[in-house]
C-alpha cells in the first residue's frame, strides 16, 4: 500500500480519508448530542462537557444523553470491527456477529445468569456474555464444519440462523419459566437506553483492548484474508493469529451485547462500505471501520430518539432496516458490495 501512496497519483492518501472520517465523526457526535427529545443547544452541550455547572438541561445531557452517545460510539466501533475481522478471518463476506451466533449466544447466557444468579453484578454479566458469545460461535462453526468441505459462506449463515433461533428460544424459554422475561428483554432489546457511566466503566476497557489488539494484527489479517496457504507460506503462525483474533471478536461482540443487546447487520455493512473506500488492506480497513461504525451507531441512535419523539424507536430495528437490503445486495453480488 505504501508503494501506492508513494507513486500512484490516482489514489487518495489514507491520511486524508482518515481525517475526513474523524471530522465526520466529530460532526455526528455534536449532532447526536444536540438533537433529541429534550430541547438543547450547542452551548448547553459545551457546558455539559467542559464545565461543572449544574442545571436541569446540563444534568440531563451529562447523565443521560452523554453516556448514551458514548455507548453508541464504542458499541458501533466494536461491532463493526468484529464484523471486519470475522469477514477477513473466515473469508466470508456475510460474516457478522449477529448472523453467526455470537450475539444470540451472549443473549442466552445473559438470560441464564439473570435466572440463576439474580444478584450478578455488571462485571459478572459482561464475562458471562463473553462465554455465551464464544459458545454460540463455536456451535455455528461446529455445524458448518460437520459436512466435509463445509464452510461455504451461505452454509455458515444458515447454521448461524438456526443456532441463533435455538439460542433465542432458550433465552425466551428461561425468561418465561422464571418469569424474568421483562428483565431479559430490558437487556437484549433495550438498545442504549439507560446506559450509565458505571456500565461504561466496565465495558469500555474490553472494547479498547479488543480494538487495539486487532490493529496490531491487521497486517497478518490482510494476508490471512487472501488465503491460509499463502499466509503459512509467508511464515505466519496462523493457529496463534486465528486464536488471538477469535478472542478479540468474542471480547468485542460480548461487550456490545452486555451493553446494548442484540444488534445485527452493523458488523456486516460497515466493513463493506469501508473496503469500497480504502481497499483490502486491514491496516486501513480496521481504523476506518471503527470510526464508521461509531458514526453509524450515533446516527441510528439519534434517529431512534427523534423519528417518533418522545417515544424511542429501537436502534436495532433502524439498523436492520438498512442492513437487510444491504445483506441481500451482498448475497446477490456474490460477496462484493459497491465494487
Amino acid at each position: 500500500m505504501r508503494l501506492m501512496k508513494k507513486e500512484n497519483p490516482r489514489s487518495i492518501p489514507f491520511i486524508f480519508i482518515l481525517i475526513a472520517g474523524i471530522l465526520a465523526f466529530i460532526a455526528m457526535f455534536i449532532i447526536a448530542m444536540v438533537v433529541g427529545a429534550a430541547e438543547t443547544s450547542i452551548k448547553d452541550v459545551w457546558l455539559a462537557l467542559t464545565s461543572t455547572e449544574k442545571n436541569k438541561t446540563i444534568l440531563m445531557l451529562r447523565e443521560i444523553r452523554f453516556p448514551r452517545e458514548v455507548a453508541a460510539i464504542f458499541v458501533g466501533a466494536a461491532l463493526a470491527v468484529a464484523g471486519a475481522i470475522m469477514q477477513g478471518l473466515t473469508r466470508n463476506p456475510l460474516a457478522d456477529p449477529g448472523l453467526l451466533g455470537l450475539t444470540a449466544g451472549a443473549n442466552a447466557a445473559l438470560a441464564i445468569t439473570i435466572a440463576f444468579i439474580p444478584s450478578a453484578n455488571y462485571f459478572t454479566i459482561t464475562i458471562v456474555c463473553f462465554i455465551g458469545a464464544a459458545a454460540g460461535t463455536l456451535m455455528v462453526f461446529g455445524i458448518g464444519a460437520m459436512k466435509k468441505g463445509g464452510f461455504s459462506p451461505l452454509r455458515i449463515v444458515l447454521a448461524g440462523a438456526a443456532i441463533s433461533l435455538f439460542l433465542r428460544a432458550v433465552a425466551e424459554g428461561i425468561g418465561i419459566y422464571f418469569k424474568i422475561s421483562k428483565d431479559v428483554a430490558m437487556w437484549t432489546s433495550g438498545g442504549m437506553v439507560g446506559t450509565t457511566w458505571d456500565q461504561l466503566q466496565v465495558i469500555i476497557p474490553f472494547i479498547v483492548i479488543g480494538i487495539t489488539v486487532s490493529f496490531l494484527f491487521s497486517r497478518q489479517l490482510t494476508i490471512l484474508s487472501l488465503s491460509e496457504e499463502v499466509a503459512v507460506g509467508l511464515g505466519q503462525n496462523i493457529t496463534r493469529i486465528k486464536t488471538i483474533l477469535f478472542i478479540v471478536i468474542i471480547l468485542l461482540a460480548g461487550a456490545s451485547v452486555a451493553l446494548v443487546g442484540s444488534m445485527t447487520f452493523l458488523g456486516l455493512m460497515v466493513p463493506h462500505i469501508v473496503r469500497a473506500i480504502v481497499g483490502t488492506d486491514y491496516r486501513y480497513i480496521l481504523p476506518m471501520t471503527a470510526i464508521t461504525g461509531a458514526i453509524f451507531m450515533l446516527l441510528a441512535d439519534t434517529l431512534g430518539r427523534t423519528i417518533n419523539a418522545p417515544y424511542e424507536t429501537p436502534v436495532a430495528a433502524i439498523i436492520a432496516m438498512v442492513g437487510l437490503p444491504f445483506f441481500l445486495i451482498i448475497v446477490r453480488k456474490g460477496g462484493k458490495a459497491f465494487s
Binding site: L3, R91, S227, V232, G233, G235, Q236, S339
Partner: protein
C-alpha cells in the same frame, strides 16, 4: 549434500492414507517435477514439505533440521510456496500483493524498508509485471496473474520455490511463458524449483529431476530419460504410451497413448488431457 529431503513420510486423514512411507531427496539448484495421476498425493506431498499440512509420521528435513521444529517465519526466508490457483486477490494491486512477499522480513507494523522496495521492484521486473504495478490483480489475465503470484514468491528471496500446478487454467502460450520464467530463475539464479505438473511433456522438457507418484508411493524418480518411459507410464497412469523425441529439445515425449484395457479400473485414475501430437507450443 541434499538440503531438502523427506524421511518415511506418512500423510493421511483418519483411515485414509494419501502418502505412504515416502522418502525422496530434492536435488539442489535443479528443477524437480512431481507427476502422477489425480489423487496420487502430489499436492498433498507438496503441502507437507512446505508445512501447510502436517504429516502423521516421518520428517521433512531442510538444512539438517526437522522443519516441524523450525520457526515458521525462518522457514519462509528459505522456501516460498505458490499454492494451486490462489484465490482472487480481491482489490489488491499488483504492487501491494508482491510487497506481501516481504512479510517474513518485517516486524511490528510492517513498514517497508528501502531494501524491501528494491527487492519488490526487482521481483516485478524479473517477472515482467512492473507495468501492471498499480493495476488490480483481479483485472489481469490468467498468465499475468500467475506471474504476479510468482513475483510475490520471489520477493520472499528464498533459495527454494514450490509451485502447485502453476500452469493450470492457462493457455498454451502462457503455460510456456510461466515455465520459461521458472527455468530462467533456475539457470540464472540457481534457485531450487519444485513443482507439480500435469503435462508429462512439459515435465520432461523443463525438469532436471522427475518424481513419479502413484497411490502415495514413488514409482520412479530420476531424470526425464529414466522416468518418461513406456514402462513407468504404464505403471503410473495405466496408459500404453508411444515415447518419441521432441524434435526441438531432444527430450523424451509422449507422442500418443491408449488406455490399457482391463487395467483401467481405478476411478480416480482419470486420464490427463494431452493435446496429443507434435505439441511444440
Amino acid at each position: 549434500m541434499t538440503r531438502l529431503y523427506t524421511e518415511s513420510l506418512n500423510i493421511g486423514y483418519g483411515e485414509r492414507h494419501i502418502v505412504k512411507n515416502l522418502s525422496v531427496k530434492i536435488p539442489d539448484k535443479k528443477i524437480t517435477t512431481i507427476i502422477g495421476p489425480n489423487g496420487c498425493g502430489k499436492s498433498t506431498l507438496l503441502k507437507a514439505i512446505t508445512r501447510i499440512i502436517s504429516q502423521q509420521s516421518g520428517t521433512v528435513v531442510l538444512d539438517g533440521k526437522d522443519i516441524s521444529k523450525v520457526n515458521t517465519k525462518l522457514l519462509a526466508k528459505k522456501m516460498a510456496i505458490l499454492p494451486q490457483t490462489p484465490e482472487s486477490a480481491s482489490g489488491l494491486t499488483v504492487g501491494e500483493l508482491v510487497s506481501y512477499g516481504r512479510f517474513p522480513y518485517q516486524s511490528g507494523f510492517g513498514r517497508l524498508t528501502k531494501k524491501d522496495y528494491e527487492v519488490i521492484e526487482w521481483a516485478l521486473d524479473v517477472t515482467g509485471t512492473a507495468d501492471f504495478k498499480f493495476h488490480p490483480v483481479d483485472a489481469l489475465s490468467g498468465g499475468q496473474r500467475q506471474r504476479v503470484w510468482i513475483a510475490m514468491a520471489l520477493a520472499q528471496e528464498t533459495d527454494i520455490i514450490f509451485l502447485d500446478e502453476p500452469t493450470t487454467y492457462l493457455d498454451m502460450a502462457h503455460q510456456l511463458e510461466v515455465l520459461e520464467l521458472l527455468q530462467k530463475l533456475n539457470k540464472e539464479q540457481e534457485r531450487t524449483i519444485i513443482m507439480v505438473l500435469h503435462d508429462l511433456n512439459q515435465a520432461a522438457r523443463f525438469a532436471d529431476y522427475i518424481i513419479a507418484l502413484k497411490d502415495g508411493e514413488v514409482v520412479k524418480a530420476g531424470t526425464c530419460e529414466e522416468v518418461i518411459t513406456r514402462d513407468v507410464l504404464r505403471k503410473v497412469f495405466q496408459i500404453d504410451a508411444e515415447i518419441g523425441r521432441d524434435p526441438r529439445t531432444n527430450k523424451p515425449m509422449c507422442i500418443t497413448y491408449n488406455l490399457i484395457k482391463g487395467d483401467y479400473k481405478h476411478e480416480k485414475t482419470a486420464v490427463p488431457v494431452y493435446s496429443a501430437v507434435s505439441v511444440n507450443y
